[in-house]
Assembly symmetry: C2
């Protein structure tokens, strides 16, 4: 129900009428459907997401990060969009023009499309009074006005942590260690994921060493390297050089590097593997001493030392120069968390699950507002994708979802007694409800089953007379029906139905609920 | 940071450029400010809200309610708004027109302004497959496009629970009992709040008995009764009759009841007090036997019996016919949760805190979609208001908010050692961080103090050489500085600074953290 007391009065008469459903009988009835690209999430999915967020938030707070929640909207200029575009003000974001304020002009606002832009605005707005460096984490929905496609939503929950105001590589290391700890706290088995680390400065150094100067050529190199997984070194070699013709005969223009420069880039991307120190040694050879490259190497060395101090070994956080995703965006270190498990797609083919989150160092976001570069680093993951990763790793957080004990109603005149039964169970910490429909016994059992109820409590005339209750073990029924269990011994221990004294109701229900294998 | 792996690719080039803060040096800098009517919430407030929601969600699940999260948007027709209004499409809601779909027409969507309309849409959309009755709870932001005023926000968090598909009064009783349990679980001391219950059918019956038939006159009666608190029975008597002139001489037209009808209405509103059965007996006298009034009385009697079964006494849930708030909206029972404490306003005047939530029975919301009346009942509260109520009741959920232990950095070459210290503390469940700025000792202490850190860990050259750590008790410093504590004995027990062996770091920090009075 609406929060009447606090703001109900603020509803316009139209809206109030709408709330009452005040349509005349012959008004057309709207179709009940959620907007394109938006989904309703039911209890199972929400339970998994909430467990993830609670576990991760606890870890992030252990690391000294404080929670922050900004509003859904930002002014369009704060987001950096050039609004309004008369024809399509919503390109990429959900934007609308606010009603005119006292200055007479309605400003364009847009729903946040990530949690970084609001952080930048917040940090710039409160910089003087914030403790610095400012560590914050945030989670919540973000909105992107994309064309809806299967599996791609226009609203989803992201969880970010960022340190603003520290240029120290130790800040990167802390974020990486915290990301690892957060993923494991959420339920990922240790060793099933690794954070791969690269640094944009290394690649810039490499470019300098290879004689690449134009931004366009750098971008072409990055894009070529990003195809390493798919095309292998030979395919990428073409893309780094003159270009590549694919199997269908289509030609992709190359980055135009010389053969030796291309080899250097390939050697760079293949410098990963083994201990972090080993990778650094190999990289030093390939990059060949540009100032920026050396800076990147020094940063990675400091990250390595800090990770060692934090007890984060290479099996959890590795240097991997083949990571280029996000290199265009970040200004220093880049992190990508990857699930190492092989999983299967819908067709049963083996696929790498791949990335479950990412981040890096970005030093010029707050500068949009303040004009001053402010060093920052962060890590972000999508909660739904992490839930999918956990499921792929055999940790289905929603697997134990069960409904309440259902107290059936067999005698309409004894409702207060049924309510009391439910109350007793709740007082003992057992979720319970009285069936509140009007159907008979069989539909009530069906209802209890659809609720994934563990136990149905049955009290009819006989039970009331005898001071007993009948308990039906619904878990057992479901197990047997699904063929999962045919263990005769277990079945013998758990008869499908028991009659117990009313005074032993709570203890008996608890026994059934807790006996679930 | 943005959730690169999952959807980064979907950012438009403009948006991607904006994320990088890619503005030229001479581009105008936007002002960093949150949009009008939207607030940033920091850790303290969020901690209180999250505790409330976690406690309430746990109670609601014990009652068999399942979580549901619908998207932020609904189609405008589903919300019941008549959009677009060419001049002001946003009246009351934040609305925008979606890009054209395959049918060629972009549909109007609006951010939800409560959690009831999305529930109605969801229930109508999924009615065939839902277990019925369908119990769900939900919490999350809602948005209202009102003119921002001090203390009134355009985005706030609401928490609702509703049962859809049961006309039983026991469903109302369950919601009431659950609301009480939820408020107490959130921290309200037992007895500090009461749910007041009324029923629209009683008032309708009273109107019939008093000869009132027109909707306009009914509304005037409701509005008059709603002023009982402020004007007292004598003022309301005028408003029920011919009208009332206030102290400034302004005249308010009355409802036009006869004197005897007005007395009957006043007697009705004053029938509260004492046991629920006593109130029912008094009401039966006043209402005088209209069919609808009798129906209302029977519903309240069933609610009373069910509440008794659930062990909810009159000190927690009382019948109070003076409650009229929401009577226009609801179709049967109406609930209002009220904090009984006297509190003081900004000027130190005693004020009743008043309502902290409300709800009732509404039977025609889903009908907008399906054409079939679907009985429903619910309760809603605003999380920020409940947090304020808790604070007024002496339960400041954020009072124990403390920051992490801060490990100071005195030797730049020992960063990995400092990181290891923080890691040890975290592994022991103690929130900790290494100072990652570049300032000296004194600003670092100031930083730790601003973080509300309980302990600063100081390890300089002497400590490294001696294998010790110095721990500074910052809670003590704050207590002394604030003058809250000048207990010499306590102070003697807690010296401001101790030096302990490095091996006793965790135990010693824990001792200080847990010693907080």
């Amino acid at each position: 129900m609406s929060d009447l007391p606090s703001q109900e009065a603020s509803l316009s008469p139209d809206a109030a009428a709408a709330k009452r459903g005040g349509m005349t009988a012959d008004a057309p009835r709207p179709e009940a459907r959620s907007p394109r690209g938006f989904v309703d999430r039911r209890a199972r999915d929400l339970a998994a997401e909430r467990k993830i967020l609670a576990a991760v938030a606890q870890v992030y707070e252990l690391y000294g990060f404080e929670a922050l929640d900004t509003g859904a909207f930002e002014y369009a200029d704060a987001l950096g969009k050039f609004l309004p575009d008369a024809d399509r003000p919503n390109a990429g974001v959900f934007a609308l023009q606010d009603d005119a304020d006292s200055d007479g002009n309605g400003q364009w606002m847009a729903l946040r499309y990530d949690l970084t832009a609001p952080l930048a605005r917040f940090a710039a707005q409160n910089w003087e009074t914030l403790p610095k460096p400012f560590r914050r984490y945030a989670f919540g929905p973000v909105w992107r006005n994309d064309k809806p496609r299967p599996g791609r939503y226009r609203e989803y929950v992201q969880c970010d942590a960022d340190t603003v105001g520290s240029a120290r590589p130790e800040a990167d290391a802390e974020i990486i260690a915290m990301a690892v700890a957060g993923l494991e706290a959420a339920g990922l088995p240790a060793g099933s994921a690794v954070v791969k680390i690269n640094n944009r400065k290394l690649l810039n150094g490499l470019m300098t060493a290879a004689g690449v100067t134009s931004e366009g050529q750098k971008l072409a190199v990055l894009r070529a390297v990003d195809k390493l997984d798919r095309l292998g070194p030979d395919g990428v070699r073409f893309l780094l050089g003159d270009g590549r013709k694919d199997e269908s005969g289509d030609f992709t223009k190359g980055a135009g590097l010389t053969a030796s420069a291309a080899e250097r880039v390939l050697a760079f991307t293949q410098a990963g593997g083994g201990g972090r120190g080993d990778v650094l040694a190999r990289l030093a050879d390939v990059i060949g001493g540009s100032a920026e490259g050396d800076e990147g190497l020094a940063e990675l060395a400091a990250i390595d030392a800090a990770l060692n101090g934090l007890g984060v070994g290479v099996e959890r956080a590795a240097f991997d120069p083949s990571v280029v995703r996000g290199l265009e965006y970040y200004t220093g270190a880049v992190f990508e968390a990857e699930l190492l498990l092989q999983t299967t797609d819908e067709k049963g083919n083996g696929v790498r699950f791949g990335s479950i989150g990412g981040g890096g160092r970005y030093d010029d976001l707050v500068a949009r507002f303040t004009g001053e570069r402010t060093p920052a680093a962060g890590f972000s993951f999508g909660v739904t994708r992490l839930a999918a990763a956990l499921k792929a790793a055999g940790r289905d957080l929603a697997a134990d979802a069960r409904g309440p004990v259902v107290v059936l109603v067999l005698d309409q005149t004894r409702m207060a007694d049924y309510m009391a039964v439910a109350g007793e169970l709740r007082a003992a910490g057992i979720a319970a409800e009285v069936y509140l429909g009007t159907s008979g016994m069989r539909p009530q059992m069906k209802y209890a089953d659809r609720r994934l109820s563990p136990v149905a409590v049955i009290i009819g005339g006989d039970e009331f007379a005898a001071g007993t209750v009948t308990l039906k073990d619904l878990d057992l029924g479901r197990e047997l029906a699904s063929g999962v269990t045919d263990n005769a011994a277990w079945r013998a221990e758990r008869p499908g139905q028991v009659v117990v004294p009313r005074t032993e109701l709570v203890a008996s229900v608890r026994r059934i609920v807790e006996a679930r294998p």
